[in-house]
């Protein structure tokens, strides 16, 4: 008794509270998204998605209990096995998976459909934590960098084969973990430069950017002086590459398949492909934008309810929230997510072992990427890549996967003193 009392006081109830608030809000929004005024059904009705989601939530609670009562050492010990298991599943998926929307990303087991890519995320986070467990794992050295990137990249390769670019992109979030653990700045500077130049290349006249780059180089040259030949050559080289990159963007974009081109171009001009990709973004923005400050009221939305927004209960669930609860609703949900993420960073930082900390940051990275990219794509800040909003979107695979992801960390956190004791 005494032991379990101690244990329950060590659990971070704040995080669990935030989790259930988000799950609850998601659930009522799923009901709003599928609600039909002309034949209203109960939110518990199993013939509509809100009823099914409640089943998923119930089973997720079971999973939570299982995780919390399991031995805390289990996850660390199983991490590599789980990773191998899911990578193998991912390899098999394209061959035995069920084809939905041109993707073979789903496994069918009886009436249930599971998406291995969702579960591979927490397995990868565990494996990465295991890999970096030792203090000798120094990310400033190329050898270790390659190993870390290898662990992250392996599932990506197979997810791309399904092909599911959205889920694959999620894995780039692990670079947040690597950043925390000492990955050198230069990679991030490089990545951000490539991204910014890429966006500029689409938005701004290329020659203008080229002039800007050359001017910056000359400015740096002026301050550095001519003393250092090596630096001068590097600078010229980098400047040249950047100019070349900018000019190549248009060419590369033109070479992409048309529907990928449109997904990018639609960010800058919603009138591109107004009935295809543009339709989603335009209608999604209309739904959210029409919510105003306080929203149209629960179940009073018209845009999501009447099918103007596609995928309204899954990837575009945020539209329902924005339309019916307005900016206030958006504010509450975004604040909950930010609070959760900041809390998780706090928890990760208080871990006594590197394994727990790395896993904690893995959770933060994946949740943040999903949260930020999902909402960004509904408001037209990011291409539509079809990833769910954690805890919110309809779907068993994603709810289970995010629940497992989060609660393994809550479990690890609640045992942080014992873990330390074990090590010492």
């Amino acid at each position: 008794m005494r032991d379990s009392d101690f244990y329950f006081r060590k659990i971070d109830w704040l995080t669990i509270g935030l989790y259930f608030m988000l799950v609850f809000l998601g659930w009522i929004n799923i009901y709003a998204a599928v609600y039909d005024e002309q034949s209203p059904k109960s939110i518990f009705d199993l013939s509509i998605n809100s009823g099914i989601q409640l089943v998923w939530i119930g089973t997720a609670v079971l999973l939570i209990v299982l995780i919390l009562v399991a031995d805390y050492r289990l996850f660390e010990n199983l991490s590599l096995i789980l990773y191998v298991f899911f990578v193998v599943l991912l390899i098999l998926t394209p061959f035995i998976g069920k084809e939905i929307n041109g993707q073979k990303a789903w496994f069918e087991i009886g009436a249930f459909r599971l998406q291995p890519a969702e579960f591979a995320k927490f397995a990868t986070a565990l494996a990465l934590a295991k890999l970096m467990e030792a203090n000798t794992f120094d990310l400033s050295k190329l050898r270790y960098q390659l190993r870390a990137v290898g662990i992250i990249g392996l599932p990506v390769v197979f997810i791309m084969l399904q092909p599911d670019f959205g889920s694959a992109m999620v894995y780039s979030a692990f670079f947040i973990v690597l950043f925390r653990e000492g990955m050198p700045n230069r990679y991030y500077v490089f990545a951000i430069t490539v991204l910014v130049l890429g966006i500029l290349a689409i938005l701004v006249e290329n020659n203008l950017i080229a002039v800007g780059i050359i001017a910056s180089c000359l400015l740096i040259l002026f301050f550095v002086g001519k003393k250092n030949w090596q630096k001068l050559v590097t600078l010229l080289f980098v400047g040249g590459i950047m100019v070349g990159y900018v000019y190549s963007i248009d060419y590369v974009v033109a070479k992409l398949p048309l529907h990928h081109q449109n997904r990018i171009m639609v960010l800058f001009d919603p009138d591109v492909d107004p009935l295809g990709v543009g339709w989603n973004v335009t209608q999604s923005k209309i739904a959210i934008g029409s919510g105003g400050l306080t929203g149209k009221g629960y179940l009073e939305g018209t845009q999501t309810k009447f099918d103007f927004v596609p995928e309204q209960h899954t990837d575009f669930i945020f539209c329902t929230l924005g339309e019916e609860f307005g900016w206030m609703g958006s504010f509450v949900v975004i604040s909950l997510f930010i609070t959760l993420l900041v809390r998780l960073i706090f928890l990760a930082e208080r871990q006594k072992t590197r394994f727990s900390r790395v896993y904690g940051y893995g959770v933060v990275s994946i949740l943040f990427f999903h949260f930020f990219i999902n909402i960004s794509m509904t408001v037209g800040l990011f291409p539509v890549i079809g990833i769910p909003l954690p805890f919110f979107s309809y779907g068993g695979s994603s709810l289970w996967a995010f629940t497992i992801l989060l609660f393994i960390f809550i479990k690890l956190d609640s045992h942080r003193i014992q873990i330390l004791g074990r090590l010492s």
Binding site: E37, Q38, I176, F179, R180, G182, P274, L275, Q283, K285, I286, A287, I288, G289, S290, G291, G292, L293, T302, Q303, K305, F306, D307, F308, G322, E323, G326, W327, S330, F331, I334, S335, F337, I338, L341, V342, I345, A348, E349, Y361, V364, F368, F372, I375, S376, V379, L381
Partner: protein, 600 residues
């Protein structure tokens, strides 16, 4: 490992979260265009067009009713056609029209219905009805167009058409919307507010496929339509049709008025057209053709054509002279042809003889006495004063200004004032010898056929009139017609003066218009000839009958038909008989009029 990287990550996450909130604030709170777009998406404003009021003649015969037509509506997002050519052939429209209409629909909305093919007739609809389900994204909406059981009284009834941008701008009540139909002329235009009823609006919610999803806000914003009110016009359909038959193949006007009430019994503008031409999908094309027709069928002659009144005006001159005390029944002048031309008749004549024989020199001399009363020693000044005084009296006969009939576009005619002659000749540079043509209804004097018919009514009524009008009752209620049509207007002429004038008009017929005489109906009339500088003179005749209890006053103009005694008097006589007796006893006269063809 001490590092600031956890802080950097924390701040980056918070910063990106704030960026999301800012972006959301921009589209949700500061920009309300999304709200409008959402409403355009999902809320359909369905206008419930009321039934337009019907129009009946004075005996309750139907003149105007509504006929259903069908619009093919399209929802652009749903609409697909595999074979455009066969689609166009099936619906009997041009490919360019289809593309044009479809583009307009797309521009309006991708998900809400717009008209694709307008006003398909009942017969057409029966043909295509069963095949409509073969096409996705189109459905049928029923509307109604005006229809006329008898192709009669086109210019009097007027027509309806799509409201113009100009009219929309002038609509202060904001009742009308683009594409609404309004009365554009005749009774349709004048009684538009009564006939149109009130539109109802239903707000429905539709989903992305255009499927109805129920009332918006439980129908709180919806309004019910109110049907337009039926109108009874003063026209006598039978008389109208008979008059149109008589004037077929001629240019001219016939206006018949019930003198005691000012009710217009027939209102004929020839050549006319079938009012059914200006309804439905053929409106545009037919309107263009009618508008370009050199005989101007759309020109509403009874109120828009202006002619010099000619000899008929001599009766007005006589009455004004009598009232002023300048003339008496015994005033006698010689028929001095050196003053103005005349024709053979007994000489000299008193006033009765002057009317009866239409003696020009008589009125030349009588008019001089009315104008130059030697109020001023200056001849020029004296003429000015005299003319304006005379004009004032003449205008009381409803001349020189719009009568105010219930039709738009009425012309005022012209009774010249001293100001007009000052403008033409200069102040003090004109005198009686300049203006003497006015004495016999010529010169700078213009009247409309309606004003002429009204003169006949005044002579019949011995001095008063009601503004001629087309309305007898609104929604079955005679008291709802405008007040001005129920107000008696007085000419200021003593009724006693009319006895002799009426006698002379009866007598005049045997002299100048013997054809018009009916053995058992006493007609008082006066012929006239409106001089026409560009061709044969216009034939004019006014009359009322029976003389002792006038039931009908009539004015007939037949353009280019020469002397008034011929075509015009015969037509008037037949109309009077038709109205009073209900049948024609003189088929020979009828044939004579029917055969006349004065359009050249």
């Amino acid at each position: 490992m001490e590092s600031n990287r956890p802080l950097i990550i924390t701040f980056a996450i918070i910063l990106l979260g704030v960026i999301l909130l800012l972006k959301l604030f921009l589209i949700q709170v500061t920009d309300d265009s999304y709200l409008r777009k959402a409403e355009r998406n999902a809320i359909q404003r369905i206008v419930d067009h009321p039934y337009r009021g019907l129009v009946y003649d004075r005996n309750g015969k139907l003149l105007v009713y509504n006929n259903p037509v069908f619009d093919i509506m399209v929802i652009p997002r749903e609409f697909t056609v595999e074979d455009t050519a066969s689609f166009c052939e099936f619906f009997n429209i041009k490919k360019e029209t289809l593309i044009e209409n479809f583009n307009a629909a797309k521009n309006y909305s991708w998900v809400k219905p717009s008209p694709l093919i307008k006003q398909i007739s009942n017969e057409e609809f029966a043909r295509i009805q069963d095949y409509l389900i073969d096409y996705r994204g189109i459905f049928v909406m029923t509307r109604s167009v005006r229809s006329y059981p008898q192709p009669s009284a086109a210019n009097a009834l007027g027509y309806i058409g799509e409201i113009s941008a100009n009219q929309l701008g002038r609509d202060e009540t904001s009742y009308y919307r683009q594409g609404d139909y309004v009365g554009l002329s005749g009774v349709e235009a004048y009684y538009e507010p009564d006939l149109r009823g009130r539109k109802g609006v239903n707000y429905r919610m539709v989903n992305v496929r255009g499927v109805d999803k129920g009332k918006f806000k439980n129908g709180d914003l919806d309004t019910v339509s109110v049907a337009g009110q039926n109108i009874q016009s003063t026209l006598d359909l039978e008389l109208q049709q008979y008059g149109e038959k008589l004037l077929a193949g001629k240019r001219g006007s016939v206006v018949a008025i019930e003198p005691k009430t000012g009710e217009i019994l027939s209102f004929i503008s020839a050549p006319t057209y079938d009012p059914n031409q200006l309804t439905g999908s053929k409106f545009g094309q037919n309107f263009l053709e009618l508008n370009q027709d050199e005989n101007k069928p759309l020109f509403n002659r009874p109120i828009m054509a202006m002619y010099p009144p000619g000899s008929i005006f001599k009766i007005v001159q006589s009455l004004v002279g009598l009232q002023e005390g300048i003339l008496t029944p015994n005033t006698t002048f010689s028929c001095n042809r050196s003053l103005v031309n005349c024709h053979n008749h007994p000489n000299p004549v008193n006033l009765f003889g002057a009317i009866r024989n239409s003696c020009n020199p008589y009125y030349h001399q009588a008019f001089r006495m009315m104008i130059n009363q030697e109020v001023s020693s200056n001849t020029f000044r004296d003429t000015q004063i005299g003319l304006d005084k005379w004009r004032e009296s003449v205008m009381k006969f409803g001349l020189g200004d719009r009568l105010g009939v219930d039709m738009h576009g009425e012309k005022s005619g012209s009774i010249p004032s001293s100001k007009l002659y000052d403008q033409i000749y200069g102040n003090g540079r004109w005198k009686y010898s300049t203006i003497y043509s006015l004495s016999i209804g010529q010169g700078e004097m213009l009247v409309t056929p309606l004003q002429m018919a009204n003169l006949a009514a005044i002579f019949a009524n011995k001095g008063y009139y009601y503004i001629p009008h087309m309305i007898k009752a609104i929604d079955g209620d005679a008291t709802r017609i405008p007040e001005k049509f129920r107000t008696k207007r007085d000419t200021g002429i003593d009724p006693a003066h009319f006895d002799m004038v009426q006698e002379a008009m009866v007598e005049a017929l045997s002299g100048t218009a013997a054809r018009a005489i009916i053995s058992d109906i006493v007609i008082a009339g006066k012929t006239g000839t409106a001089q026409n500088p560009s061709g044969e003179d216009h034939s004019v005749f006014i009359a009322f009958a029976p003389k002792d209890d006038p039931k009908i006053a009539i004015a007939v103009y037949v353009e280019n038909a020469g002397w008034g005694g011929r075509a015009a008097a015969s037509t008037a006589s037949l109309m009077i008989e038709k109205y009073l007796r209900g049948e024609i006893t003189r088929p020979a006269l009828e044939d004579y009029v029917l055969e006349g063809n004065f359009i050249y």
